[in-house]
Subunit: 391 residues, 2 copies
């Protein structure tokens, strides 16, 4: 038996306890929990086969009461002695995609981001479209290309057309970008015609991850009318491997910045709002270029799920939805290079080199943390990706 | 042992042999093939456990050579004697969703449909947007709400806003519509960064179904800018239960109506086009109101898959993509009630009653057939759905 040493200021203390799927030395992937600098093999430590699965889905499907009970068991476990074979140093484990993704939806819930994009793409019009403050605008993305952090991103190819050109050309994207987002994972859904209210968010949503919605702006600009983004996004979406339980985020809850003009329709109203005080950081080739504040989001993740299901659509274990790019009011809080470089017109200096969009070999790492219980701070780990040249 | 009597003019003769998933008297769902008025239980008849699965996915994942070989074995089987217990009358079986849907994408590939919608939604502009003839426009939809024919459709609720109103209201959709489409099912996909060429379409796509993309036009009109349709579509997409193999569609192949101005980019070019001469029919409360011709589609299903994957997106067994509404040049060939009623301004008479959009209790049945080998005609069966009142 062994005890796990958790430094007092660890981002992975007993008030966090994020779940993931890991393997060691090529063994089969299985469920673990990250504690301090260690990963605890839960099938081994708790003797429960649901954690021997290669995704979190079977455990998530067991529902809210089990999530609460298992979290208590893990707290007790790591406070005492853990079987030696169940503890692995974090640097020895290989993280895997933690969930089997069912449907993936991406929202657009930052007012600052939506306004910036509106100014860039429609300079002569109101930056926010008329529906934006009435509903969390969102659309479905490709669940089959949700990738775990660390997966290299091959530069996508596609059609693009400059405004002055008569016809599109085909080739590797020249405006490859990121979008720093939070992702929310449905643990237990509802059948058809059973909408989820905002207040029942924590009973249905299991946890949260960092999400990078890689975006090829040139492909997207040409293709997106009238049915929305497709190939400009569908090549890759990366998520962090450690799923922070919603149960760990109680201390991070804050009011939303304000939904008074207009007031949302009743189905979107929360009695106790799910604004979340999560700080993100974006590092480009190792240099921090932005600190997007999730607390500035206009719509909460509870409102997003309520909207998703209000038309009668069913939801499932493994559904993933992204918040949309997180941008704050300040320039250094913008969550996409499109905004940071103002459409490519204002290059950034990154490690002494000028950058607008991503070059081959560039690496982006998004990290995040939030207040936890008992004065702790809880970490989301990182979502990392490096750009490889087009095939 | 028994022999299966197949009338000479059957739409389900030995040149069709569509696969589905069925159950009898509450037994577990399993794979069958529809032959004449019968369904043959393939696990029972062939003694192969891959057909004891509750979806076609395990069989589809075995790949093209197996699809060819099994089709030959089934032809031999039904030409001779079949074990008694393996044959069920079609009216005794309950059809199930034949596939586990991975990602679902919906295209917009009928020039007549896209032009009609453009005229209705943007009366003062060119009906086709500039990208439309350069790429098959499409977007991701909700795979979790793909339903088998016969599932009732509860009228969805959502936000809608009339142009003259200051703010949206919430309530049951008042403009519930259909879209008559063909759906194509990927049998074996490719990993990341391995685009599928149009010419390899039949090695990757297993089969085709009829598809009804139920659409709430009022919800869609308010929500769809700038990221495309979402809740106006995500409540339900129905498909026919019998998957017609692409191997059965050789005799239905025809040239496309013409892609000369502009000529598609090289990645979209087919050496032998996959236009398909499929006739559809839409019955509204039992009265035929339209005969959409798939032969009029601008983009082929092979081009759609090539486009889907050209950016490096992976594809998977069970991916489903819809053609988009099938409309021909004539009014009685339009595949959506939005077009048939010209935005609700020109009501239809259906069974003596005026109709624009769907009323509670209405039923829509879409059927289809195509030329088969040896002078036969092959049927796609039907996709049926009845509208229930909002909850």
């Amino acid at each position: 038996m062994t005890t796990i040493d958790i430094p007092a200021d660890s981002l992975f203390g007993i008030d966090n306890l994020p779940y993931g799927v890991f393997s060691v030395d090529g063994d089969s992937p299985r469920v673990g929990v990250r504690v301090g600098g260690s990963v605890v093999d839960l099938a081994e430590a708790l003797g429960d086969d649901v954690f021997a699965a290669p995704t979190l889905n079977p455990f998530m499907a067991q529902g809210y009461d089990r999530w609460v009970a298992v979290r208590e068991r893990i707290r007790d476990l790591v406070a005492g002695e853990v079987p030696d074979g169940a503890v692995h140093a974090i640097e020895r484990v290989t993280p895997h995609l933690p969930i089997e993704v069912a449907d993936y939806v991406d929202f657009y819930a930052s007012e600052h981001h939506a306004s910036n994009v509106g100014r860039l793409f429609r300079p002569d019009a109101e930056p926010l479209l008329p529906n934006w403050k009435h509903l969390p605008v969102g659309y479905h993305g490709r669940s089959g290309t949700v990738l775990v952090s660390g997966t290299d991103i091959v530069r996508p190819s596609g059609q693009r057309k400059a405004p002055a050109e008569a016809a599109p050309v085909f080739g590797p994207s020249t405006r490859l970008d990121i979008e720093a987002e939070m992702g929310f994972i449905v643990g237990t859904g509802t059948p058809l015609n059973t909408p989820i209210t905002p207040d029942s968010f924590p009973r249905h949503v299991f946890g949260a991850v960092l999400l990078n919605d890689w975006s090829a702006r040139d492909i997207q600009a040409w293709e997106y009318v009238p049915l929305g983004p497709h190939l400009g996004k569908s090549f890759a979406t990366s998520i962090s491997p450690w799923v922070v339980p919603i149960l760990a985020l109680e201390a991070a809850r804050i009011p939303l910045p304000g939904q008074t003009d207009p007031k949302p329709l009743p189905y979107l109203r929360e009695s106790d709002p799910w604004g979340l005080d999560i700080d993100l950081s974006i590092a480009w080739n190792g240099e921090e270029v932005s600190r997007p504040p999730f607390r500035e989001m206009y719509w909460s993740p509870a409102q997003m799920l309520a909207h998703l299901t209000v038309n009668g659509a069913s939801s499932r274990t493994g559904d993933l939805y992204g918040s949309g790019t997180i941008s704050g009011p300040e320039k250094h809080q913008r969550g996409a290079f499109l905004e940071l470089s103002w459409g490519g017109k204002e290059p950034l200096t990154v490690k002494g080199e000028e950058r607008t969009f991503l070059q081959d070999g560039d690496e982006v790492v998004i990290t995040g943390s939030a207040p936890g219980a008992n004065g702790s701070r809880i970490g989301f780990g990182e979502v990392r990706g490096r750009v490889l040249p087009s095939n």
